[in-house]
């Protein structure tokens, strides 16, 4: 019903737009230039005012009135049977809701049936009341806007103000969402640290990670939440990934921008960008099923023992995944270096290689650095590949041929495992918060670099 009302409000608003526009024309007898605002601004203002009033009424009255009904029903129940605890009263109320909608209730005594009737009657009043008020406000606001239409009426300025407010609102929503996520991370992190008696150093520098094995009465064992193996694993895989991605990505960008003919470029660049479109889960099983056995077998052939889940396999595949980010972004910044700089260098008798090394790359450096740091953030936060190919055991090792685990893998294990969410969430959120801090610091560093070298050429 409320969805229908919502669309009815939109339809009314559209009608007000048309009415407002034609009324604006008729007010001045067709001499449109006498209007302060173009006719469509008068229409737009009527449309926006009516739609905003209607939708706001729908939201506010719908929720506030509903909450008020629930509270008054609860009060009625408590009045009828004063010996009920609040939780029992809520059970009675939810049973009444179930009965009213023809569902299954835990019991159906006289009180519940009486309440169910109340729910039905008040609910109907609530629904129709909400619809009437919101449609009424829509019409009133639209009529007001249309009544205001006059040659001097500044509909354009007013509608622009409304648009600006709406834009601001959407920006605020985006910012508040971010703040909310960060806040929840912080609160869970504080809970977790509280749970291990604020021995933060044991989390940051401990070397044993087995957070759920020492749980006693919901209390974690501070000696088993050492995250160093996870940080080390993440670091190792990130380094391997960047060792693969940076040279290949950067050199292919240089080739594409300065050496490739237009024809090669026309098909090579989309092909590279296609790599970015492959879902990471596909990379993950490519690493686990194709590359890891290949590495293990070739290792055996030369007498090396390589685990079937290894940091090397996960890192290489992650590097392949990151290549398109680095090559595509670097290619863009290298192309953005003005041709005049290249001409200047050629004009002094420099070769292509000297020009690229000494003029083009330094000029493109800020962009390249931010591309690389973007790649690092991707590598640090990447999950699917490492879940499948890197292993789960929190193994502290410097050998890339062994299985390691990463921060993201452990978060997945904690959340998808069968431990109670309230216990597992603590370490998971804390790891998430740590990851967030690291990527944030890296983004800040990238912006610093970009800022420092910006505007060296125009």
């Amino acid at each position: 019903m409320l969805t229908v009302t919502f669309f009815a409000i939109l339809a009314l608003a559209l009608a007000f737009y048309l009415v407002g526009r034609s009324r604006a024309v008729s007010v001045v007898g067709g001499e449109v230039h006498q209007l302060h605002s173009r006719p469509n601004f008068h229409g737009t203002l009527a449309m926006m005012l009516s739609a905003i009033c209607g939708i706001l009424a729908l939201l506010v009255i719908g929720t506030a009135w509903g909450a008020y009904i629930e509270r008054s029903l609860l009060a009625d129940i408590m009045a009828a049977q004063p010996d009920l605890t609040p939780i029992e009263a809520e059970l009675v109320l939810s049973d009444a809701h179930a009965l009213a909608s023809g569902g299954i209730a835990s019991r159906s005594d006289a009180l519940r049936i009486a309440m169910a009737e109340q729910v039905t009657s008040k609910g109907a009043l609530h629904q129709w009341g909400t619809i009437a008020v919101s449609l009424g406000l829509t019409v009133l606001a639209g009529l007001w806007a249309i009544a205001k239409i006059a040659p001097e009426w500044r509909a354009r300025n007013r509608s622009e103000t409304i648009v600006r407010r709406v834009l601001m609102l959407t920006a605020i929503i985006a910012v508040l969402t971010t703040v909310g996520i960060v806040m929840s991370l912080i609160f869970e992190t504080i809970n977790f640290f509280d749970n291990i008696d604020w021995q933060i150093h044991k989390f940051l520098f401990g070397t044993t990670w087995s957070p759920l094995s020492g749980v006693q009465a919901g209390k974690l064992d501070p000696d088993k939440v050492g995250a160093i193996p996870l940080f080390a694993g993440t670091l190792m895989i990130t380094v391997i990934a960047m060792l693969v991605a940076v040279p290949i990505g950067l050199l292919s960008a240089i080739y594409l921008s300065d050496f490739a003919s237009a024809r090669v470029r026309a098909w090579a660049k989309p092909m590279l960008e296609l790599l970015a479109g492959i879902p990471t889960v596909v990379y993950g099983f490519f690493a686990a099923i194709t590359l890891a056995p290949f590495i293990r077998n070739s290792g055996e052939a030369i007498g090396l023992t390589i685990a079937s889940e290894s940091a090397l396999a996960a890192g290489i595949v992650m590097g392949i995944m990151i290549i398109p980010f680095i090559s595509s972004l670097s290619d863009d910044v290298i192309n953005a270096v003005p041709q005049s700089l290249r001409d200047g260098s050629y004009g002094l008798g420099a070769t292509k290689g000297e020009t690229i090394r000494q003029v083009v790359l330094p000029a493109a450096l800020p962009g390249i650095v931010s591309a690389v740091l973007l790649g690092v953030s991707r590598a640090v936060g990447e999950t699917m590949i490492v879940v499948m190919a890197a292993g789960q055991g929190a193994n502290l090792t410097a050998n890339p041929l062994e299985a390691v685990t990463t921060v993201t893998v452990q978060i997945v294990m904690l959340i998808t495992g069968d431990t109670e969410a309230s216990t597992a969430a603590g370490p998971a959120f804390t790891l998430g918060f740590t990851l967030f801090c690291v990527t944030l610091l890296m983004n800040i560093a990238a912006q610093r670099v970009v800022h420092k070298y910006r505007e060296l050429y125009d």
Binding site: L341, D343, G344, Y346, G347, L348, Q358, L456, D458
Partner: protein, 254 residues
């Protein structure tokens, strides 16, 4: 009036794809003098200038036929390396284009890649000499290690001239070097060009006829890809032979 001929172009044609940009141009450029190319926009004077150090090689669709001889040697011959050619024939561009490096490194760039300096002291000497000859040394000697892009437009252009001089070229090509500069900076650059004449062969493309008259000894008038008239600057500006030259100089075409 017998002077050494530094550059001799014979029957040069340039094509951009299907467009015939330069049509059978013959020009002989004298050593240690300033030669100006004038003409309306799109007449091919910049294109011809870029042929002299093979800058057009960097444009895929550009094709050059005919002979351009630098001291009697065909610069389009197979044996000529365009990179070495450009070290002998330097170029200054329309828009100042300092590299995003320090003032010092901008000037040291050419000498370093060509190995002109044996050590740091020699390099310092080359940088100072070049900046002095470009008449900018006094303005930048205290800030050699600040970015060249922080200079004003006129200073940047003189820096670019200094950068071109530092590679010790024999010929200096200038493609409208003053078009982005204000009158004071223009006057400084013109004065500089006049001084450079003693050591280099200068070829300058300009839109300003006053500039051509002020700085050059020889002038070539380009029109629609042809050299209409080529001769002593004094004669071109006072007593042109071709009616089109006269029309252009007096402002009736172009």
């Amino acid at each position: 009036m017998s002077k050494n001929i530094k550059i001799s172009a014979k029957n040069v044609d340039v094509f951009y794809g299907d467009t015939h940009a330069i049509k059978g141009v013959d020009v002989e450029i004298e050593d240690k003098s300033v030669t100006a190319f004038i003409g309306p926009s799109g007449c091919g004077k910049s294109t011809f200038l870029r042929c002299i150090n093979r800058m057009n090689d960097t444009i895929d669709i550009c094709r050059v036929t005919g002979d351009i001889l630098l001291e009697g040697e065909d610069i389009y011959a197979k044996s000529i390396d365009p990179v070495q050619l450009r070290a002998r024939v330097g170029m200054v561009f329309q828009k100042p284009n300092p590299f995003p490096k320090s003032i010092y490194d901008n000037v040291a760039y050419g000498p370093t890649i060509h190995g002109l300096a044996k050590n740091k002291a020699e390099l310092d000497e080359i940088v100072e000499q070049s900046l002095r000859r470009a008449a900018i040394w006094d303005e930048v000697k205290d800030r050699l290690h600040q970015p060249g892009t922080g200079l004003s437009g006129g200073q940047q252009q003189r820096l670019c001239i200094g950068r071109a001089i530092a590679t010790a070229p024999e010929v200096l090509l200038m493609d409208e070097p003053c078009s982005a500069l204000d009158p004071i900076a223009t006057a400084q650059v013109e004065e500089l060009i006049d001084e450079l004449r003693a050591s280099y062969t200068v070829v300058i493309v300009t839109h300003s006829m006053q500039q051509a008259a002020r700085v050059s000894q020889k002038t070539a008038f380009f029109h629609l890809g042809n050299v209409v008239e080529y001769g002593d600057t004094d004669k071109i500006f006072t007593n042109p032979e071709d009616s089109r030259t006269e029309s252009y100089i007096t402002g009736r075409i172009g």
